[in-house]
Structure formats: structure tokens, C-alpha cells
């Protein structure tokens, strides 16, 4: 067991039958994760998947690693406990737009601000899948679902915008229908030190089919999305002939030559946040890829450093010291 073996994607498959609907976007995501794990080269026994409840949250059962399919909305909190308890582990959070942003929204934003070293994959299908089709906090206003038969009246969250607002050190987006892009993004996320928030556009064929079609379909994808890559110019279009640049505090279209170079590593979140505002203009492409990636101490580091420091200063506490403090007196 001591020799590190190069694992393959299939080594991460558990013996449990995968039970998503045929055609569900979840299949492509699990395969992307399995490939990423193989590529990044982790030890199976160090990997832990923690999920909440939802279709997506059945994920851990299908992975031959450690895992917990917990309760609705609490994956981030449980995963925080796992990671702080043992920082050596590679802890992944698998969650949905309902699980992670509705009931679990608070744990999500708090784990992001604390920069807990979790890889968080948010399966965003803009619907509650497991409970059979109710609107979620990312469903567009007006969407008719079982609980909004006359159209949803709730304005949705933009997950990346929310993550930035919470102070996330890593924010990215990819899509189920582009395995290549997904693997690239997941690999960067897997290597990020600290909380990595990855939104994945995931199609729910049954209850919200084609919700991302206007951006993800092969025919339009290149025009309607832009893949942001650190250090590369912001270019998009089938012919890679279109660019984006900053004009004061706005992002505007330009030719490919004029395109600005994307830098997700700036301390200011300004540019990343501007990117999340692109959706206000329907003619603009939607940003995909890594929006932000900065290094900052993680919660688990700081916690353990403090334990070490105090221990260095005071010496390892023995059971006896705990009880027999200096204010003890003796009755003889």
C-alpha cells in the first residue's frame, strides 16, 4: 500500500449502480471528476466526498472513496469539520442549487469567507430535481414549475456573484456538455489551496430541460460564452475573432487583437465581479472558466498553526495538568 499507484478514472467508481435519469447532466460531471482525480494524482483513501440531499447529492455513493450523503443543505458545514479535523484529506463538496444555495446558502457563504480548503461543485440545474420540479434560487423569474404554476416571482441569485460577495478565493464556472472545459476547470480547482467554488451548468432533462441551451448548445456555445483563462486574452467566437476589454468600469466588445488579458489572481475582486454583470446585456457572452483565484491562508492552516503555537508555548497538555491547576489545595 505504501507505493503510490497511478490511479485511473475507473478506479474511483464504486460498486453502486448509478441512478440518475438517462440523459442527466450529472453523468458527465461525475466522469469529469473521476478523470480529474486520476489526473491530479490523489490517493483514494485521502479523498472524501460530502454531499447534502438532491439528485446531485447521490454522487458520493458512486465514488470509491470515503464519503457522506448527509442532510439537506449541510454539506459545507460537515465538510468543514472533516477538513479542519484532518487537513491532509482532499475534501469535496457536492451540492445542488437548492441544497447549496437555498437551505444551505448560509454554510456556503461562511465556508467561502473562511476559506476552508474544500472543492465545492455546485450542480446548477436551476430546479429542484429530486423533489420533482420546483423552482430554485437560481431559476429565472417567470419560470413555471410545480410550485410556481403561474410563474416564479423570485429574482434569482447568480451563484458566482454571490460567491464573490462572500469573499471566495476561487470562483469558476463550467458546463456539463463540455467535458474538456470541465476537466480543465476542475483540475485548477483541485489544486487550489483554500475554498474552490465551481458552478457547473447541469441539464435536468426531466424537469428543466434545455434551460442553458441558449448558451451551451454546440451551435451557439462559442458565441454565447467566453472561456476565461488566466494570462490569456479574452477572446471568443467560433472564429475566435471577438474580444472583450475593459472600458472604465464596463466590459465592452472589441476585436480579438484588442482583447484584454484575463487575470483572475488580482487582489481586488473588481474585474471578476464585473464579469458577473455581463448577463445584464443579453448580447454579451456569459463568462466561463476561472473568475478568481487568489491565495490566502486557509481556515485549517490557521487553526492548526494556532494549536501548534499554543502548544509550543505552553507544552503539550497532559490529563493531569488539566485537573491539577495551580489553585489546587490539599486536605490532609
Amino acid at each position: 500500500m505504501s507505493e503510490v499507484q497511478q490511479l485511473k478514472a475507473k478506479d474511483f467508481k464504486s460498486d453502486q449502480e448509478v441512478r440518475w435519469c438517462p440523459g442527466c447532466g450529472d453523468y458527465s460531471i461525475i466522469s469529469g471528476v473521476q478523470k480529474t482525480l486520476a489526473e491530479v494524482g490523489v490517493k483514494k483513501e485521502n479523498v472524501v466526498f460530502i454531499s447534502g440531499i438532491g439528485c446531485s447529492s447521490r454522487f458520493p455513493y458512486y465514488m470509491d472513496t470515503y464519503g457522506m450523503h448527509s442532510i439537506h443543505g449541510r454539506a459545507n458545514a460537515i465538510a468543514t469539520g472533516v477538513k479542519v479535523a484532518n487537513p491532509e484529506l482532499d475534501v469535496w463538496v457536492i451540492t445542488g442549487d437548492g441544497d447549496g444555495l437555498s437551505i444551505g446558502g448560509n454554510h456556503m457563504i461562511h465556508s467561502l469567507r473562511r476559506n476552508v480548503g474544500l472543492k465545492i461543485i455546485l450542480f446548477n440545474n436551476e430546479i429542484y430535481g429530486l423533489t420533482k420540479g420546483q423552482y430554485s434560487p437560481t431559476s429565472p423569474q417567470g419560470l413555471k414549475t410545480k410550485t410556481s404554476p403561474y410563474g416564479s416571482v423570485d429574482a434569482p441569485f447568480d451563484p458566482m456573484q454571490l460567491a464573490l460577495g462572500a469573499g471566495a478565493t476561487f470562483v469558476a464556472r463550467t458546463m456539463d456538455v463540455s467535458p474538456k472545459h470541465m476537466k480543465e476547470v476542475l483540475a485548477v480547482a483541485a489544486r487550489h489551496k483554500g475554498a474552490a467554488f465551481v458552478e457547473v451548468w447541469q441539464n435536468c432533462v426531466i424537469f428543466n430541460n434545455d434551460t442553458f441551451k441558449g448558451w451551451t448548445e454546440k451551435a451557439v456555445r462559442d458565441e454565447m460564452t467566453i472561456s476565461l483563462v488566466a494570462g490569456e486574452p479574452m477572446i471568443y467566437g467560433k472564429e475566435r475573432d471577438k474580444g472583450l476589454k475593459f472600458d472604465h468600469t464596463a466590459i465592452v466588445k472589441c476585436s480579438a487583437d484588442e482583447a484584454a488579458v484575463w487575470d483572475p489572481t488580482q487582489e481586488s475582486m473588481g474585474q471578476a465581479f464585473l464579469m458577473t454583470q455581463l448577463d445584464k446585456d443579453p448580447s454579451m457572452p456569459r463568462p466561463m472558466g476561472v473568475l478568481r483565484q487568489v491565495t490566502s491562508p486557509t481556515l485549517e492552516e490557521l487553526v492548526h498553526d494556532q494549536v501548534d503555537e499554543v502548544t509550543d508555548k505552553r507544552g503539550t497538555g497532559e490529563l493531569k495538568d488539566l485537573l491539577y491547576t495551580p489553585d489546587v489545595w490539599e486536605v490532609k
Binding site: M1, S14, Q16, K43, K44, E45, N46, V47, V48, F49, I50, I53, P60, Y61, M63, D64, T65, Y66, G67, M68, H69, S70, I71, R74, A77, I78, A79, T80, G81, V82, K83, V84, A85, N86, E88, L89, N106, H107, H110, V303, Q306, V307, V310, T311, K313, R314, G315, T316, G317, L319, L322, L323, Y324, T325, D327, V328, W329, E330, V331, K332
Partner: protein, 591 residues
């Protein structure tokens, strides 16, 4: 007031008296000084023999203003001494206390020995040449008063003088001022002989030999949890969220980082318990501390801990309910919530501590049950224990028996739901090659641990979880009786009603009454042997600071006998004398 109270406590313990204290804070951080809501009390009971409560009826009351006087004088023993600071009895002071007439002059205090002293003035005089501002001077009045009380009870001033040196190391002028005030108060007592005679409480002669230390309940829980984890050979992880009166436990454990302790103050109670569950999954001993409303929030996650069968200690320091209720007052009204406040059939063992020092033992016991049986455990304390102090006879180190956890060692055919003879499941932690597995909140196959919807399996698993918890009975003793094994009256108490009940019953016993006290540390599962005990008595009284919750449980389990609830839900502990009076009424009915 709390500060001077603590000084008196420490000094008294060092003199060798047995003691119990009960601080009583206002609910507001700084409720307006002088108002009734702003009264900050500190009660201490000390004696030469074992004592169980902070004393029902104090013999001396020190009232620094009219509000303090009016809200407390009724509790005093007939003929007790009231020391009053007349410097704080101006018309304005009376108004703040919502008094129309001065209780010092209208006969209210008839039957007490009232000693009036303008302590403000005395203190001002004593510190006149120090050049302090008026505010600073008046802050020293509590130490002046403490000096008077030290004189009254023949306490030495040295411990407090030393403490002042440390406390104000950076502000020498305050050392001087407070020390001088203390001494001035002492001398004032001596010189003027204000009191008729002086109390001398000799040290407890028959105190068992050993090492002692004063301990507050919350601190005892904190170190008990750390000790419990050590005995289980695990590192503790506390995920918590502040809430009165449980916050101290988190605060105390946060100091113990060099004991391998990790504490995380989380965003809410749910995150608190969830991080603890995660930490247990990762191989630490997860813990979470809270009070009633917080426990309500944790119940869903407690169910997850129960079905995943992970060790977890949930500490609930009870306060007055329902809802926010009386957050700074005492109550025992979370027993039924602890037993039943989860969806589904979801038994969880419940342990309750009786006194501040017992809290240490109970915390260790909770850790033992959690780890030996792979289960969440609820440990109940309450505001009275949490903030009360008593001398704690420290266990000799050998007495602390380890109960080391073992992790699964053989990956061959490993299944997380294989059980040992105690029905505890196999534990393997992430990071160990060959034991990769998944657990979760869905029902799982009794053998493989995989998700299972098989009808028969659910019945088996439900019964197994129940049997495991009931099996804890095999590891706990039948509680000892204080008194004879049969008789007229059995008093069954739990938690902090221990003290008043024990005192009341012992007084009755001394009067020759056939009364017995049974204290219940384990509330679920109920220990073996209870019915046999119950059958030996004519009447069984269950005094509780709630509307009869333990009585409800006992009545359901032992319909063969009758339990009579005696309740007090006033945010205050029982007094031994009120219990005794009640028991006497019962006994009279019987005769």
C-alpha cells in the same frame, strides 16, 4: 458584584469550608444600575459540613441599593442580617427601583437585623488622599463591603490582596485603592463592631483527604470533555455557537489548544453540530455545546449522527423556556426535547449532571457512551450548575479509567455496519487505505451499509438502533439510594435538583422520617433495578424545575407505581426548605 463574590468564594474555599455558589445575572448586559432588572446577585453558602446547595435562605444579605434590597430580602432567614449601603438610598435611587417609600423606614424589614452604613461615603473617605476621580472611587465600594463581610466571617484578606496585585498589575493606583478599601471595610467592621458578634465557620474537619479545587459547572464540562476524549484516545473537536448559559464551555475549551483541542465557533447551531459530525467522521471526537433553543436547531443533524452511528457529545445547558424564555434563569425543561425531539424513531442516550463537580464526571461518562456505543449522547446541565461553584475533590489519576477507541484494522470484507457485542458499528476513518466507504442519512442495509429500501431491513435497523441504546444499561449502575431501601417517601430527582433534594431529605431523615433520595444521572436508557426500588415506597415524589417531564417518562415506563410531580418554574432553583415543607405535607397526608 460577581467579582467580589468570586473573591469571597475563593478565600472561603481556601479556608477549608465546603461551599456552593449561585450567581444571578441580569439578562441585559448592562441593565440600568439601580433598576430591579439590573440587580446582579451572588449567593454563596459555606459550611463545615457537606453542603448541597448555595443555601436557600441566606443568613446575611448585602444590598448595595434599594433594588437589590427589595428583590432579595424575602429570601433571607427570619432574623437574618441585612447590610445596607444607605449612600444609595436617595430619592432617585428609590425611583429607579420603582419604590414610592423607603423600605428602610416603612417597616418592610421588620424581623431582620438591619445595619445601615453609607458605604459610598465611607469608601470616599478611605480613599480621599489618593487623588482618584469620583467614579473610580465609587467602583471600590464593593471591596469596602467585601472587607466588612470578611471581618464578619473571619476570612483572611491575603488571597484577595494578592489577587488584586495580579489583576491590576498595570494599574498600581487601582491596587492601592481597592486594597485600601478592602482593609478599611474590614477595619470598620472590627472597630465599630457593627454586627452583634462575628461568625466563625471552622474548616470542614471530616472532609475526605485529597486535592481540591473550586470549579464552576461550565468549566467542569469543558475539562471533562477534554479528559473524556483523552480517555477515549481521541482528539476532541468542538463545533459550537455562543448561547447563554452554555457559551463558557466553548470559551473555556478555546483556551485549551495545547491539549489537542480544536474549537470552531460556527455560523449557527446547525453548523456547530455538523462540523462536529464531520470531525467525528474524520476520526476525532466531535462535540457541540448549546442551550435549549440551540438544541431545537440541532435536532435534524442529531438524527444524522444517530443513523450514521458516529460518536458525538451534545451538551445542553438548560435555561428557562419556551422560546427565548428566560435566558439567564434556570430550568430543567429540555428533558423531553432531548429524548424525543427528532424525526423518526431515534433514541439517543441522555445523561444529566447534578452539581458543578459532577459535571466533570458526567462529561467523561458522555464521552464513554458516545465512543463505546458509536452514538450521539446528550449531556444535560443547567444554568444553576453552569454558573455555580463548589470545591471539587479531584480524582486521583488512576481513578480515571481509559476507554480507548479502536478503529477497524482488517480491510478484508470490511463493512461499516458490522457490529461488536455492544452493537457498536465498525469505525474506519478517511485517510486509511482499504476502508473507503460511504455513509449517510438514508436507511442502510444491516450488513453492507449500502442504501436499502427493503421493508424488513428497516424494521431490523430500527430495532437494532434501539437495542444498542437500551444495551447501554448493561454498563451503568442502578443508582444508589440515600436512605433506606424501603419507606414512606422516595424522592426521585435529576440534574441540579440534586442539592436541594438531598438537603431536604437528609433533614427529614435526621428528624427520623423514613424518606429516601434517589438521584438519576442516566435518564435514558433508564438503569436496571428501578422498579424494584420504586415498589418499596408508599409515595414517590419527583421534584423538577419543569412541569413534570421526568415524571412523565417514569410514569410511562413504570405504570405499576405512581409518580407525583412537584414543579417549580420560576427561573430559580428549589430551596431545600420548600422541598422539605412539601414532603412534610405529603407525609402528613399519609399519617
Amino acid at each position: 458584584m460577581q467579582l467580589t463574590g468570586t473573591q469571597f468564594t475563593d478565600t472561603t474555599a481556601k479556608v477549608g469550608n465546603d461551599l456552593a455558589t449561585f450567581p444571578d445575572f441580569p439578562a441585559e448586559i448592562r441593565a440600568p444600575a439601580g433598576s430591579r432588572a439590573g440587580v446582579s446577585g451572588f449567593q454563596i453558602h459555606f459550611s463545615s459540613h457537606d453542603i448541597y446547595t448555595p443555601g436557600d435562605a441566606p443568613s446575611v444579605l448585602v444590598a448595595m441599593n434599594p433594588a437589590a434590597l427589595i428583590t432579595n430580602y424575602e429570601d433571607l432567614q427570619p432574623g437574618g442580617i441585612i447590610l445596607v449601603n444607605t449612600g444609595a438610598f436617595t430619592a432617585a435611587d428609590l425611583k429607579k427601583a420603582e419604590l414610592d417609600v423607603n423600605p428602610l423606614t416603612d417597616g418592610t424589614l421588620k424581623g431582620f437585623r438591619v445595619i445601615e452604613e453609607d458605604i459610598n461615603q465611607r469608601t470616599t473617605e478611605a480613599l480621599a488622599d489618593l487623588g482618584l476621580g469620583k467614579k473610580d472611587v465609587l467602583r471600590c465600594k464593593n471591596f469596602y463591603t467585601l472587607g466588612m463581610v470578611y471581618w464578619l466571617y473571619s476570612r483572611p484578606m491575603e488571597p484577595t490582596l494578592e489577587w488584586l496585585q495580579k489583576k491590576f498589575a498595570k494599574k498600581p493606583e487601582l491596587i492601592e485603592a481597592n486594597s485600601r478599601a478592602l482593609k478599611a471595610g474590614y477595619n470598620h467592621g472590627e472597630l465599630l463592631r457593627l454586627f452583634q458578634g462575628r461568625y466563625e465557620v471552622p474548616k470542614v474537619e471530616d472532609a475526605p483527604k485529597g486535592h481540591y479545587r473550586n470549579i464552576m459547572g461550565n468549566e467542569a464540562v469543558a475539562i471533562g470533555l477534554v479528559a473524556g476524549a483523552k480517555l477515549a484516545n481521541l482528539k476532541p473537536f468542538l463545533g459550537s455557537y455562543p448561547i447563554t448559559p452554555a457559551t463558557d464551555i466553548l470559551q473555556h475549551m478555546a483556551l485549551l489548544k495545547n491539549y489537542d483541542v480544536i474549537t470552531c465557533q460556527m455560523e449557527d447551531e446547525i453548523a456547530g453540530i455538523c462540523t462536529a459530525i464531520g470531525a467525528s467522521f474524520a476520526g476525532r471526537l466531535g462535540m457541540t455545546t448549546t442551550s435549549g433553543p440551540g438544541l431545537a436547531l440541532k435536532t435534524e443533524a442529531a438524527g444524522l449522527a444517530a443513523i450514521t452511528e458516529l460518536p458525538l457529545v451534545i451538551v445542553n445547558v438548560q435555561r428557562g423556556g419556551p422560546s427565548t424564555g428566560l435566558p439567564t434563569k434556570v430550568e430543567q425543561s429540555d428533558l423531553l426535547q432531548s429524548m424525543f425531539g427528532r424525526n423518526g424513531d431515534c433514541p439517543i442516550p441522555v445523561v444529566a449532571c447534578a452539581t458543578p463537580s459532577d459535571a466533570f464526571d458526567c462529561a467523561v461518562e458522555a464521552c464513554r457512551i458516545a465512543t463505546e456505543y458509536m452514538t450521539p449522547v446528550i449531556l444535560l446541565s443547567d444554568n444553576y450548575i453552569a454558573n455555580g461553584t463548589e470545591p471539587w475533590k479531584l480524582p486521583v489519576m488512576d481513578e480515571l479509567k481509559p476507554f480507548p477507541m479502536t478503529f477497524a484494522t482488517d480491510p478484508e470484507g470490511f463493512s461499516p455496519y458490522t457490529r461488536d457485542e455492544k452493537l457498536a458499528r465498525n469505525w474506519a476513518k478517511p485517510g486509511t487505505p482499504g476502508f473507503e466507504h460511504r455513509i449517510g442519512g438514508l436507511e442502510k442495509d444491516a450488513v453492507t451499509g449500502n442504501v436499502s429500501y427493503v421493508p424488513e431491513n428497516h424494521q431490523v435497523m430500527t430495532e437494532t438502533r434501539e437495542a444498542k441504546v437500551m444495551g447501554i444499561r448493561e454498563s451503568i449502575p442502578t443508582p444508589p439510594l440515600n436512605g433506606e431501601a424501603t419507606g414512606d417517601l422516595l424522592v426521585v430527582a435529576w440534574g441540579s435538583t440534586f442539592g436541594a433534594t438531598r438537603a431536604a431529605v437528609e433533614r427529614l431523615q435526621k428528624e427520623g422520617v423514613k424518606a429516601t433520595h434517589l438521584h438519576m444521572r442516566h435518564l435514558w436508557p433508564l438503569p436496571h433495578g428501578l422498579l424494584e426500588i420504586f415498589k418499596g415506597f408508599k409515595r414517590i415524589i419527583v421534584p423538577e424545575m419543569n412541569r413534570g417531564q421526568l415524571a412523565w417518562v417514569l410514569q410511562s415506563r413504570y405504570p405499576e407505581v405512581r409518580f407525583e410531580s412537584y414543579d417549580k418554574v420560576k427561573g430559580k432553583p428549589f430551596q431545600a426548605r420548600e422541598l422539605k415543607a412539601h414532603f412534610e405535607t405529603i407525609l402528613e397526608e399519609m399519617s
